[in-house]
């Protein structure tokens, strides 16, 4: 029997913290809770489902290659990334994800971040500093413009002010993670959080289809496209998938641009927390440095650590290859998770105004970031 639909907030694997006192900035749920063996056991069915879908996707890609090369059949060339998402979407939107699988499906976030940490082996530090530094500059421009435009659009479409803040934060930095970081800091209505997450997930799903097509149409290089996907697509998972759909190399550059963008999360959320506190509608942030550290995505430090070790010659060439392969194995269940947690009925069932603001804002951000990438490409700062 099909399970009833949890909210976008719940399905994404987040608990509702709104019952906490509004006078305190809640600690991240993960930092508060204790590791329980029963919780680990509860994740196993979902983890098995993620890997089963991922492995089936790999198998289907291989079957496609065999049918095309050995049997000369016109089987479409679909990579495992797309197969994993399609299979996840089919399961999620036909059978539904049963409650027993949900804790494990939520671990897609862990696999995604593990993949990002391990892919650090494929970047020498010079690349990270050069392209990462360039990304930081482009992100800074993108942030100012997207926050401004989303705020203006929110006012034009008369969205609730805190929903506008959530959409601006989500679309300018890293999607759902940024919205969840902000919801503890600016205390919006639950409905606003759910609406903002649904809008961001919808826009991510649209990007999966449109970005690779535009990239091919414009004959973009792997690096230019990868940077564009990292700068323009909001949610980290959708961003990396959008990059990887264009090519493995593009996916790698997407990760670099995306991590640079994610590193701004603390500053932007802090800015909004201070703004809403000044209006008496959110808790005052007393320890700003601690707040920034709590919001900083720590997996970026792991990515940098592996990159530093790789640059220092800590690994042999073969070992670097093994680390790179491991990162791909980690991304496999993460890609399946993106499909599994996307419910098309929820995406089309939201109000039209938040989606309109999101779509218009995202089109603006996509054009601006595309222009920035082409500018940097034409001026020889990217290869």
């Amino acid at each position: 029997m099909r399970e009833s639909h949890p909210s976008a907030l719940a399905r994404h694997g987040f608990e509702d913290t709104r019952t906490m006192s509004t006078q305190t900035i809640p600690m991240p749920i993960a930092a508060e809770a204790q590791l329980k063996p029963t919780s680990l056991a509860a994740t196993l069915p979902g983890i098995a489902l993620l890997f089963a879908i991922g492995l089936l996707a790999k198998l289907l890609e291989h079957v496609g290659v065999v049918l095309r090369t050995q049997y000369r059949l016109s089987f479409p060339q679909i990579e495992y990334v797309l197969w994993a998402i399609l299979l996840g979407l089919v399961v999620s939107n036909t059978l539904g994800v049963a409650a027993v699988f949900r804790p494990g499906v939520a671990t897609y976030e862990l696999w995604l971040k593990l993949g990002i940490v391990l892919v650090g082996a494929r970047f020498v530090l010079q690349d990270v500093l050069h392209i990462g530094g360039l990304s930081l500059l482009l992100v800074a421009v993108e942030l100012v413009l997207s926050l401004t435009v989303m705020t203006l659009l929110g006012r034009i479409f008369r969205l609730p002010p805190k929903l506008t803040s959530l959409l601006a934060i989500g679309s300018s930095i890293c999607g759902v993670t940024a919205i969840m970081a902000a919801q503890g800091a600016i205390d919006p209505d639950e409905e606003d959080t759910t609406t903002a997450i649904a809008a961001i997930l919808t826009l991510g799903a649209i990007a999966l289809v449109t970005f690779p097509a535009i990239g091919h149409l414009l004959r973009m290089s792997q690096q230019a496209y990868g940077m564009w996907a990292g700068l323009a697509v909001d949610n980290t998972a959708e961003s990396i998938v959008t990059g990887s759909l264009f090519g493995q190399d593009a996916g790698r550059w997407t990760i670099l641009a995306k991590t640079a963008r994610s590193s701004f999360i603390g500053f932007v959320v802090l800015g909004y927390a201070v703004y809403w506190a000044s209006r008496g509608q959110a808790a005052v942030v007393e320890h700003k440095a601690l707040f920034l550290w709590q919001k900083f995505p720590k997996f970026i430090l792991g990515f940098l650590a592996i990159s530093v070790l790789a640059t220092a010659g800590f690994f042999t060439k073969g070992q670097l290859g093994s680390l790179s392969s491991l990162s791909q194995w980690a991304f496999l269940p993460a890609f399946a998770g993106v499909g599994l947690r996307t419910n098309l009925k929820d995406l089309v069932g939201q109000g039209w105004r938040p989606l309109a603001v999101g779509v218009l804002g995202e089109i603006f951000i996509a054009i601006i970031t595309l222009g920035l990438v082409f500018w940097s490409y034409n001026h020889g700062v990217t290869r």
Binding site: A10, I29, A30, R102, T107, V117, W329
Partner: protein, 47 residues
């Protein structure tokens, strides 16, 4: 004083987030795997 749990929806009670810091867990596992590969405990891995 009202019980905060009473306000929570059925879905928020049954849904989960990993009960640990996912970022730090990813870093820990990543560095551990890198060490296992570096010191030859895990050999060649292909994808």
């Amino acid at each position: 004083m009202a019980n905060p749990e009473a306000n929570r929806t059925e879905h928020s009670r049954i849904t989960h987030r990993l009960p640990i810091n996912v970022d730090l867990l990813a870093v820990g596992i990543g560095l551990a795997l890198a060490a296992l590969i570096r010191f030859g405990i895990i050999h060649q891995i292909s994808f």
